[in-house]
């Protein structure tokens, strides 16, 4: 049962969950789920470029996602369109461009399903290295910008007035988002990465009364989702991404029950 590929997938998945936990909390707090989606959709373009120019997938996805984030910031400054329209515009056009480019790459056989929904067979030892070193760097940087990022999430003007430089923290956070998508795309798939960010964090919100607890529970929820998801993926021969997301959904539902119970207990 414990084939090599499965161990690799497990190590990769747990590494990803450690990073998506805290980052996901900020996605929920700052209402960035559609932003995450947009970056993830643009990742397809990154993958196709990686195949075209024989680049590392994670690196290429990181570059394209960062680029899309930059374009978004510029469009927000220069147009009067609402944020969600701009996000939709970028998400779907980059997805479309990615799919068209795939059409041209007839010499490569693409596993589209694997790209969209994740493929545990695809995780190599190199990927593990990228996930764990990349993940460690992401967490370290997040720890460094935690104070200004969190303060400006609570209230931008307070953070700015008291000298925390929230704009810089926000810019760095955007890059971290691109990075986490880059390292998790193979495992979770580009359609489901945002779920990996949001659902454990949402579950954690239901059972937390402080930001630190929410981050902790979000990490634990992510780790459990990966374990449950990957074992069931192996058992039922399902794609890894949907299996992990379903596991996190189950945890989310359990966290709702917990709320009802605690209310009952209080009464």
């Amino acid at each position: 049962m414990f084939d090599d590929f499965f161990i690799r997938a497990l190590i990769a998945g747990l590494g990803i969950a450690l990073v998506t936990g805290p980052l996901g909390c900020f996605v929920v707090w700052r209402r960035l789920s559609y932003f995450g989606d947009t970056l993830a959709h643009s990742a397809l373009l990154g993958v196709t470029l990686a195949y075209s120019f024989e680049l590392n997938i994670a690196l290429s996805v990181f570059i394209i996602s960062s680029l899309i984030a930059l374009i978004l910031i510029q469009l927000q400054k220069k147009t009067n369109l609402p944020g969600d329209a701009l996000l939709g515009l970028l998400a779907h056009s980059s997805l479309a461009v990615g799919l068209v480019v795939i059409g041209f790459l007839t010499f490569i056989r693409f596993d589209i399903m694997g790209l969209l929904f994740g493929d545990i067979l695809a995780v190599t030892t190199d990927d593990l290295l990228i996930i764990w070193t990349g993940g460690a760097v992401i967490l370290l940087v997040l720890k460094l910008i935690w104070k200004p990022l969190f303060a400006s999430t609570v209230n931008y003007e307070l953070a700015e007035a008291e000298g925390l430089n929230p704009d810089r923290a926000k810019a760095i956070f955007t890059i971290l988002m691109a990075a986490v998508i880059a390292i998790s795309i193979k495992m979770v798939g580009l359609l489901l990465i945002t779920g990996m960010l949001i659902i454990p964090a949402a579950m954690a919100r239901n059972i937390s009364d402080s930001p630190q607890k929410m981050v902790l529970f979000s990490i634990i929820g992510g780790l459990l989702s990966v374990l449950l998801g990957l074992f069931s993926s192996l058992e039922f021969n399902t794609s890894s991404g949907p299996s992990i997301i379903m596991a996190s959904l189950i945890l989310f539902i359990l966290s709702l029950l917990n709320i009802k119970q605690s209310i009952k207990l209080k009464n």
Binding site: N155, L158, A161, D209
Partner: protein, 248 residues
């Protein structure tokens, strides 16, 4: 030279324009250590804007701001906190700086909300939240305090106590305070310097100078000037420790 060193923030002919409309222009003022500068003026006269210029929140301003301190405590007028965040009063106290537990307790004690320390911020009443905001700003032991309508929603007795607290803080911490207040009575009794705004500086000076100013009278009405006469009257006697009244 000594006055140069005690300057915390200085606005030189500062102004801010949004959507081609001046929110405020031509404001010059200086906040020094141990001094309370109060901004008064009708709604929309640019009081909060002036405070935000002084804090460096607005970037593209006319004129200039010289800020000589980074230890700033700010109580904004409006604060919208997203309640999707699980945030206790305690977490909020640590928002912009890591403060020792004793300092947190002390500040919460001073503003009378120590019992709310572990409560969720979203469950506080308006007045309670305002007290937490003030506690957070003073717990940092800032050199510059910017208080934008700090006692809004606080009950009347609490209001007086909080203004006394603010005055005491300016003395004990020797910090400079930029205060925005609607309460003319407080302004006139506890302030070193008053700046009266109405899109620009109408008049400024000591509370007495301002109250005598004609532009101030047209802005606030004759009655507002009366407040000062009450205040002046109050000061032709002093209270001894035993509560006896002694004429000067």
């Amino acid at each position: 030279m000594s006055s140069e060193n005690s300057t915390l923030v200085k606005l030189n002919n500062a102004g801010f324009k949004q959507n081609d409309k001046w929110l405020v222009e031509g404001v010059s003022l200086t906040v020094e250590k141990g001094k309370i500068v109060t901004l008064i003026g009708p709604n929309g006269s640019g009081k909060s804007t002036t405070a935000k210029i002084a804090l460096g929140i607005y970037r593209n301003i006319e004129g200039s701001v010289e800020k000589y301190t980074n230890k700033v405590g700010y109580v904004p007028q409006k604060i919208s906190i997203d309640w999707t965040l699980p945030l206790r009063v305690y977490d909020f106290m640590l928002l912009t700086e890591n403060i020792k537990d004793e300092a947190i307790d002390e500040a919460l004690n001073l503003t009378g909300v120590i019992h709310l320390k572990n409560k969720n911020l979203g469950n506080l009443s308006g007045g309670e939240f305002q007290r937490v905001l003030i506690a957070r700003a003073i717990s940092k032991k800032p050199e510059l305090l910017v208080l934008d309508e700090p006692v809004q929603g606080v009950d009347y007795t609490g209001e007086i106590a909080l203004y006394e607290l603010i005055k005491r803080i300016s003395d004990t911490l020797n910090c400079g305070i930029l205060l925005i207040s609607h309460d003319l009575h407080t302004v006139m009794t506890a302030t070193d310097h008053v700046v009266c705004l109405n899109g620009h500086v109408c008049c400024s000076g000591s509370p007495m100078d301002v109250a005598k100013n004609n532009e101030y009278k047209t802005l606030f009405g004759e009655q507002a000037s009366q407040i000062l006469s009450v205040y002046e009257h109050k000061h032709d006697h002093v209270h001894s420790d035993k509560g006896e009244i002694k004429k000067n």
